[in-house]
Symmetry: C2
Subunit: 672 residues, 2 copies
Amino acid sequence: MKKSERNIVIPVKDGRRRVVITGVQPEIDCGCFAIKRTVGEKVIVEADIFTDGHDALSCILLYRREEEAQWTEVPMKFLANDRWQGSFVVTAMGRYYYTLRAWIDRFQSWRRDLTKKVGAGQEVKVDLTVGAEIVENAGEKASGEDASRLKEWAQALRSPQELSKSIRLVLDEETAAMIARYPESQSATTYEKELVVVVERTRARFSSWYEIFPRSCAPMPGQHGTFRDCETRLPYVSAMGFDVLYLPPIHPIGRIHRKGKNNIPAGKEDEVGSPWAIGSEEGGHKAIHPQLGTLEDFRRLLTKAKEHGIEIAMDIAFQCAPDHPYTKEHPEWFRWRPDGTVQYAENPPKKYEDIIPFDFQTARWRELWEELRSVIFYWIDQGIRIFRVDNPHTKPFQFWEWLIHEIQKDHPEVIFLSEAFTRPKVMYHLAKSGFTQSYTYFAWRNTKWEITQYLMELNQTEVKEYFRPNLWPNTPDILTEYLQMGGRPAFMTRLTLAATLGASYGIYGPAFELCENHPREFGSEEYLDSEKYEIKHWDIQRTESLKDFIARINRIRRENPALQSDWNLSFHPIDNDQLICYSKQTEDLSDLILVVVNLDPHHVHAGWVELPLSALELDPRQPYQMHDLLSGARYLWTGSRNYVEVDPRIAPAHIFRLRRRIRTERDFDYFM
Amino acid sequence: MKKSERNIVIPVKDGRRRVVITGVQPEIDCGCFAIKRTVGEKVIVEADIFTDGHDALSCILLYRREEEAQWTEVPMKFLANDRWQGSFVVTAMGRYYYTLRAWIDRFQSWRRDLTKKVGAGQEVKVDLTVGAEIVENAGEKASGEDASRLKEWAQALRSPQELSKSIRLVLDEETAAMIARYPESQSATTYEKELVVVVERTRARFSSWYEIFPRSCAPMPGQHGTFRDCETRLPYVSAMGFDVLYLPPIHPIGRIHRKGKNNIPAGKEDEVGSPWAIGSEEGGHKAIHPQLGTLEDFRRLLTKAKEHGIEIAMDIAFQCAPDHPYTKEHPEWFRWRPDGTVQYAENPPKKYEDIIPFDFQTARWRELWEELRSVIFYWIDQGIRIFRVDNPHTKPFQFWEWLIHEIQKDHPEVIFLSEAFTRPKVMYHLAKSGFTQSYTYFAWRNTKWEITQYLMELNQTEVKEYFRPNLWPNTPDILTEYLQMGGRPAFMTRLTLAATLGASYGIYGPAFELCENHPREFGSEEYLDSEKYEIKHWDIQRTESLKDFIARINRIRRENPALQSDWNLSFHPIDNDQLICYSKQTEDLSDLILVVVNLDPHHVHAGWVELPLSALELDPRQPYQMHDLLSGARYLWTGSRNYVEVDPRIAPAHIFRLRRRIRTERDFDYFM
């Protein structure tokens, strides 16, 4: 244990180190965890930096890539109330470090005081000689032209007859900038921590996910789908505009205690079982379910997907069926009960007899961890770069922190999505432990107040630094009440929200686009005849399919950089609680998307939107054009309050792109 | 520099350490600084504690005095949302440490799951044998009666015929409590920091200060007052109810550049100068100004004061007059200018030629620090235990952190008051560095909104953990606009606010009680003919003096423990912006003080107070009595809304004490 309070480091090493650096942001849990960025993004660092007395300060932000020994220095600017700010752009994947340094700037203090004294008409002869010393000090560090100019200036400061020249030089910004290159930073304070940025590829921030069960992709009902069948589905997925195709586990499925249709405990012999019950005599986490095809087929699918601009995401479920080879090869990785049986998964009184968890309390935890790491490496070798991790919250946080770090050390391009639907602090801690993206509570946020509060928490608080939300309106486990009851308009509403509120989102299809909404029973969020336990055959060409709508939404996402980032979201008032209004824009405001969604799938709603014109750089006296990218319609708006009306039977939302330039008579050549 | 992110401590030491402890409160700046308490106060510690999976946790708070090797363990209780809480009471001055420990509680997990299974009517035979192992493990650690009882219970769990007995035992709280004494905490997580509490005496929290210039205490006008004259003033100060008497510097005053009346730069020969221009041929910081008396006189004053229940607070101004002995003995502690003169204090274009600051950038900083520490020790030897530190923000933070720690190591009873009127973060950082109490912006907070916001910041945020406010309506440097314009009622209002909002407050007298309100010039906060530069003679018996009002207020403070602490302040709505309403109460609600102050010194104001009855444990259907401790009047109030009217010409406030017991006919012996 370490005494944490600073008092105990007495005796003090350097009493002249007078500058304090504190309140650094971003800094997660005292620097225990990294912040996250994608390539090309900016890191804005702020800190409270101050000293005793009235001296002027110089503050710099330092950053470097892990591979680099040298720090790059960035001057920080003073904001207000002792707060300073600096920033840098991360340009490569991997880890960056950043820290801060500040010192008392004798030259700036002197220059500021002298300026005041000159302004007050005070005698400054001695002050000029004081300045001469400072300039000489700088001159000693300089060389070349700088050295001779500084020497010359020091001489001027010492010559009473050159008083006005000296004073002019003091006030000269260029001279000041030159002196700043030779700082007296012996007693500088360096912030005691080096903070970390994990930089990932763009898809970590902006991605559109589509989940299907490969075994349900066969052309004929009743057949077991294969990877080859998945290939034929790629054009369909690509046409909808998705760039990640996520497959539930593709490994051999256990036979012991295999679940039957609708999760019935004692499945019959011919049941297909749940793909999450991994492992049988046919192999475990590094094997492929024979009915899906061969490893060769799988690699071919990856290649074909790439041709369609699609990446395959693999499911990682670190758990075993009772007949997984591990249970025989490594019985020490499981918890055995006094009766000689192995402890299956349970959450009393619920039992999951087809699944047995690893016992992470095992004395052989290290071998277990290493084996699990080898699973990831195995699939990386096959070409996988995205892993969707099943129930990470039932494995130790330390394990994930270690695993993700181990993988990203060699493969910074690997993306991990955390599938944890659990308590908020646990979900956030998993994200801190390294997960690239995380599932969220979005599925259960339906009212305006709920959506606003939740998205503000995700995007406007410190959470944004480490938790990248991936918004899913449905999953094979989650058919929400809202979708069950709202019909097709509800599916459109939820898709629009997910795709425009979140830079990353996903759907479980074809259930979603076909608006499948029958629960197993009233009050349940499970699908009736769930694909988790049986093979389904979907008629993806049904006319009521949302595929074209989805394709349009995904095109809007691709074409508008404003929708490709999470932090730029702001909500705007609208005087109808069934309508929600928000905007996203690029930093330079060149792309601005305003979304109005009708949350009520049953009725037409109308209301007055209120926009902050000055923040959007709109002239309150000039009209501007709102182009609805969904319907194609264009509206002329003026001022901050404008009317909208949304009919869920046509489209549940407007997705406006702001078009700034509206012609008036003043634009005519011959005006004036 | 240290890499701060945890990832780099890979390889992981113990992968089975699955519990996370984070979000610990209180914890100042990642544990860099101590929190503060006074003897008898409670430390309530909260943290987010959680693990992966569904296991039950045991969490304990550990604390110890610095002198103790052994930790005391306190079980923590679960609040909600993964938040746990524990507390301990500090009973002695000095330093305490606290930290946290948590582990997976196998017994509790098993007991909870078994209870659910039994409830669901599931087969639990194997589970009972699992439990037997856990109980046996505990039994091995136990001895005596516990050991035999645990053995007996394990046997029962293994005997199928004793099923119902076993289950009854599982549910028995007493058995569970016994098992908890023998935890399996091998893979416990201990919080990585030991956090510090600095515990001071009660006066650090609750104190009433009175500042006078000893040289103005002479019985006859024109005479220079002495310590003996101060003695004769003690009964007066004591009658007003003050317990700290603070004297501006009592050292010899420099003659070079001595300031004249009203701070005129070139003082005449016979001027007395500013006591803050310390040091002359007659001595420096360890000497006494000859005109005040001898060291013997000073020590006698301390003794006499004690007899009146008053402690003398000494002014520590670490700066020198140009003729201070240090300037000759230690020229290396000052900054010399190229013309051979020493750098005097300035804040351009303002000059303070009678004061020269120490150069804390000196290479001999260590000797300087040690000498300054010896000054404090010298006065401690004379009996001083309270120091009011002048302008600490113009000396390095590290210096104060070191100095206060050095002093309190041997003398935890020594109190330091920080007189820093500067930017908020600098003031807060001084408090973090160790100052017991701090001056505040109170003098400039006059409206209801300003007062509410500021006091909430001080008492309801993390600031309360390290910053103890001392509220002063005036000082020799601060005669606020409000006091200048509001006449006698303004003085009463500000005194009432200071004394009831703050557990510690002070006034500069007799200027305050005599309602002295003439500024040097319009727009200035300096007093006209300020005592800082001349001897004054005050007629303390003037009829319009507030001394009796002050005595009454201080008696109310002494008699009501509710007013002796800062954190228990809450503001209540009142429908008139010139009236402010707030309450303070003891934890057990036995003492509840409700204050209503009229902030407008010119007009009568009335309004409806709104009280949170349930929080105050008041029955909404029963009347309660409000006893105005200022006027002696008693009012019967009912329900949450009640009417008040405050006439500033009579008294600017009500200070109600809630009297709960009101008799009704049901209290008669013969009722029913």
